[in-house]
């Protein structure tokens, strides 16, 4: 069952009611992110945690790489300064780490949200990227009653139910 709403306030109302009935909401499609929905859907993302570990890995890799090149592989004497010039390695470490975090987080996002080049869009209602807020309720969830749900969605302000 698909309910189409004209604005986020109606959607949120219907969302709350459907949830309190114990029905499973399969997915909600909106033109912009709505935090109550993102929280209410119960999906969690660990992208921020992943980004932290990418950063840790990146910083160590970059520092280690510079240490290897400047101390192990080909030490060069610049005016008697130490080979491991740690303070000036920090500059490159910061910037290169940011680059590594950005790229790896992008790939993680792409893989987890399944948004990647060449993907065919699985469109439920084509108006959801324009101006409609679309909620899909799972018909197989217990307590599902098509007529009752239609009435509920309409009462919460759905402009279209199918």
């Amino acid at each position: 069952m698909v309910g189409v709403f004209d604005n986020e306030f109606d959607l949120l109302q219907a969302f709350g009611k459907v949830k309190s009935k114990g029905l499973k909401i399969e997915e909600v499609y909106t033109p912009y992110p709505i935090h109550e929905i993102l929280e209410g859907m119960g999906t969690k993302t660990r992208i921020t945690h992943a980004a932290f570990f990418f950063g840790l890995f990146g910083a160590l890799a970059v520092l280690g790489g510079m240490y290897y090149a400047a101390v192990e592989s080909w030490p060069l004497n610049f005016g008697g300064k130490p080979f491991n010039t740690f303070p000036s390695f920090i500059v490159v470490t910061i910037v290169a780490t940011i680059l590594i975090v950005t790229l790896l987080t992008l790939f993680t996002f792409s893989a987890r949200a399944k948004v990647f080049p060449g993907k065919k869009a699985e469109i439920v209602d084509i108006r959801a990227t324009d101006d409609k807020f679309v909620m899909v309720v799972d018909a197989s969830s217990p307590g599902y009653d098509a007529e009752e749900l239609t009435a509920l969605l309409k009462a919460s302000g759905a402009s279209d139910v199918y």
Binding site: I47, S73, V92, V95, T105, A121, T129
Partner: protein, 475 residues
Amino acid sequence: MYNTEVRGKLIDGDKSLKQISKEILAPIDAKTPAWWYIAFIISLGMFGWGLYCKYITISTGIGTWGVNNTVGWGWAIINFVWWIGIGHAGTAFSIFLLILRQKWRTAINRAAEAMTVVAVLCASLFPLLHMGRPWLFFFIFPYPNTRGPLWVNFNSPLFWDFVAISAYMLISASFWYFGMVPDFATIRDTTKSKVKKAVYGFFAFGWVGSSKEWLRFEALSFVLGGIAAVLVVSVHSIVSTDFAVSVEPGWHTTIFPPYFVVGAIFSGFAMVLTLVTLMRKLYKMNDFITDAHVDAVCRILVFISLIMGTAYLTEIFIAWYSGSEYEMFTFFRNRITGDYAFQFWAMFVFNALVPQLFWFKAVRKRLWVVFIISIIINIGMWFERFNIVITSLTKNYLPANWATYSPSIIEIGFFIGTLGMFSAGVLLFFRYIPMIAVSEVKSVAKFDKPIPSHGEHGGGHTSNERPLTTNNSQN
């Protein structure tokens, strides 16, 4: 928390969500206007001349430029720093205003980010060709090679610069692109043209706006926003160390990193102002880029202009206070007076004095005055870089080494080429990419409107009573 009372409306004209997508995306579906072709051909002509000058530079060598042994950095480095500075506005707009929860950024950030990507591309050409043998540019990349392996010098600001610029390029481009994915999906789902549907559909990466996508999209914006904020400060600080780490009078100073960063944001915001005034005039985006938006950018500029003026005066004061005769000479005899006094005073007047006009509301609300001042700031910032690069180099410690510098026609052509490249890039952006972030504008649209009156909500809610906790436009 954001308060519409302070800044005025985010969107004029009480628009429905459908109107927002329709009006912003209109230029993509509309017939290309004649002025666009004329402007594009002129840009391509400039770009072509730039290409010819690059060909001469590569085939004959750096000798075709006006640089000499004393003044080894000429227009190329001036223009490099100038373009990178302009390129800073994208991140500054997207990230700083995001962190500060300034909702008015949603109308402008897309243009600022687009500008960033093109400006950084223009900037990167200058050091590349200044290498003399640009076909060996990859030597600067630290990779295991057959020349020893010979590594790059990790202590050199020039290498830091390479890392910073390439990272900045990639990061701002990906930030820009991923912000556009939901808008490409909107084009895919609303356009009537089959070709556009296929092309934008490809670039939309299968986006449908599901909660799973938005959830991760928000997390991604959060991460990228957080770490890219560091870049705004670090990239131009690193550019400034190109100068500050050397022992030239006028360069070897600790004020340089903040001075450069603020200058970069200053010129970037000025260029953003130029672009948004054009968007308002040429594409009638007045309802989305309201007078309040222009006003806000002007107010920021007047503040940054004060910082610039303070920085100029601090430099002069420190030159005197240092007691170093070389510093004194550089600032008092070679900048404020002397051969390059015109460039110094142009810098000072254009950057520190002219923007003070923005204190007056009468100036801020006259779009053509705002446009002219934004151009003046851009010119002023160019003179600032001229002032830094050329005056210090022409007359340093040893009078026997003194030399003058004037650019050759090839250098000038190279610069004009990048101007053409920039304007061509911006024109393509206007024509083929949603110039305002549609989904982000939609997400702030509700702040201007009363809650609809059916359902359990009474009709009595006004925008003032709106629960501001539904603050959901983090990207």
